[in-house]
């Protein structure tokens, strides 16, 4: 009887020690689910989800504050991926937050630009180059197409240009072929 109690106490102590040690040693910093959600989001940083960027939206989803269908740039595929990650039912994109547009980049008409730096301050990824009273220009490669530079421009010299298919980003198309007449007959 006594031995049994002692053995159990000893076991409890050892397990307690191991658990206590690993809870300190292997502590996960931050919320891993936020990182996972953030990895799915397209990082456009456009704020159409009504949060100031992708990370805040990821936090809001993780805390259950926001829904999974508020990200237009992520599109239907993004919603599906989020639904799978969160283990919730898929729902169509909430169009009150905007619709999915083809990927585009901002373009500054350099003749019209007055060099006010307002767009530079608005750009969430520092993709606009310029200085006060100097012409500004977009670093095309870094532009996420968030459109946040459009409203502050006092002379409306920024336009969004859809990225056209070119020799570099061209993709093989889904093979389409007509079904055989033979098949049609069998069916």
């Amino acid at each position: 009887m006594l031995i049994a109690i002692l053995v159990l106490i000893l076991l409890a102590l050892i397990i307690g020690l191991v658990l206590g040690f690993s809870s300190i040693k292997f502590k996960v910093k931050g919320d891993p689910i936020v990182e996972k959600i953030d990895a799915i989001l397209p990082q456009t940083q456009c704020g159409q989800c009504s949060y100031p960027g992708c990370k805040p939206y990821a936090k809001a989803i993780a805390s259950g504050e926001a829904d999974i269908n508020q990200c237009p740039p992520g599109g239907e595929d993004g919603v599906k991926a989020l639904a799978e990650l969160m283990g919730v039912e898929y729902k169509p994109l909430d169009e009150s937050h905007g619709i999915t547009k083809p990927k585009s980049v901002a373009f500054i008409d350099e003749d019209t630009c007055i060099g006010c730096t307002l767009c530079i301050q608005a750009c969430p990824v520092d993709a606009i180059l310029g200085a006060a009273k100097q012409m500004h220009t977009i670093i095309e490669k870094e532009c996420t197409g968030c459109e946040l530079c459009l409203p502050p421009c006092p002379v409306d010299c920024i336009t969004m240009e859809v990225i056209e298919e070119n020799a570099e980003n061209w993709k093989w198309k889904y093979p389409v072929y007509s079904l055989s007449k033979k098949t049609a007959k069998v069916q």
Binding site: L41, P42, K55, D126, E165, A167, K171, Y177
Partner: protein, 508 residues
Amino acid sequence: MKIIENIFKFNGGVKAQTRKSISTKVGIQKIGIPKYLKIPLRQHIGNLPKLKVKEGDVVLKGQLIAEADGSVSAAIHAPTSGKIKSIEKILLPHPSGLPDYGVIIESDMKDKWIKKIPINWAKIGVEATIKALQNSGIVGLGGAAFPSHLKMGSKATKINTLIVNAAECEPYITCDDMVMRERSEDLINGIELVESLLGAKNTIIGIEDNKPEALSQLQFHTKSHKNISIKVVPTIYPSGDAKRLIFLINGIKIPKGKRSSEYGIQMFNVATIIAIYRYISFGEPSLSRITTISGNITKPQNYEVLFGTPLKALINQSGGQKIKNDNFIMGGPMMGFKLPSIDVPVTKAMNCVLGAEPEMIEDKKEPLPCIRCAKCAEACPVSLQPQELYWFSKSDQFEKAQEYKLFDCIECGCCSYVCPSNIPLVQFYRYAKSELISEFRAQEEADVARERNEFRIMRLERERQERAERNAKRRAQSSKEEKSKLIDEKRAAISAAMDRIKEYEKKK
């Protein structure tokens, strides 16, 4: 010279009708210099080269017109002398049919060379020679168009064996065969040169047994070379695929993600070796190539063509199509693609152009449902499960397809060839691959955007703190005394002003 007999047979592959003899009846002929040459900048794998000329410039044959940008890039030279007429978007021989930047040269028909400077590699050393090779514009001429200088120099790995890819396994294509028949001497000189640049001890030429004429030429020219051996491999497509050929010759299976150089083996195509030899020994950069024109063509044969020559000139020279259907295929019937337009120039990657035989035109085939006969799995030289990959690609389950090793597929087309239901299997894999690649690219871009956004947030926070610190410092600097003095001064100024107003009113 010795001939090695034993080979290691790989799984799968197909024995297709080779139809090579139709284009080997006549020797290599030259295509005359065209009036206008359209030279695309994108002719190789890697970065677009940087333009070095502008409209109106006069260029000589062999003059650099675009310089390699970074290490994964290749230079481009003027294939003949003339004037740069324009720099504009031109149609590429690419399945997309999309235009891309290129240089148009108006030829002066003089074909005047720039001063050729051979490289004395023994004097300047191997490293400098490899560096110089980047300016040669030489890329893999077997069709992959991978910049050759990248395959030459890596200090980390020691190359023991140079394998010369002379298999040329795809039906119809005979450009390497003809090169070996007519230019074996250059090839052997080139092999010796590349061998010493790589530091390789021996060379094995892998050649399919359907090229007896080329083989006898090689045997004749390698008589006195002890370190060069020839391995005759059976005619089974795709024996010319790099990893397949290495297995056939050495029995070494190179796993996914590894390069042959890690196993002490480096492989070059015959035409590439000759190009390297011509550049180093004679100072001639990559300006032309041998292209096979065959298939449904009146006079199928091989031509030496300057890069930038209109494909139409090649077609006209060979008499056009026998049965007119205006369909042309670039590459062989197994891996090639239908050219969206024939209004394209000949490029470094264009090893073969086929006039499409009626049975090669996809639309004429009638695909039937998959019956799961698994013939494709038997034929797959990479031992994949094509029927599963087909299923996943067709239903857009790309991640699943990736789990089934989609990216190990070499797109050889054996599965499509044996499919009794005529399903265009490879097209589905190409589709799935390019969808996945664009997903990877989007993910990379997103990662960059995240990093930049996080940095911006950090920067704004830092700036705010710095401003707060500056203000605090300024406040601390101005001591109390100074402050009260300032206030006194201000008060005095105000009272003086008030006095003036009073005086002014009194005067009134």
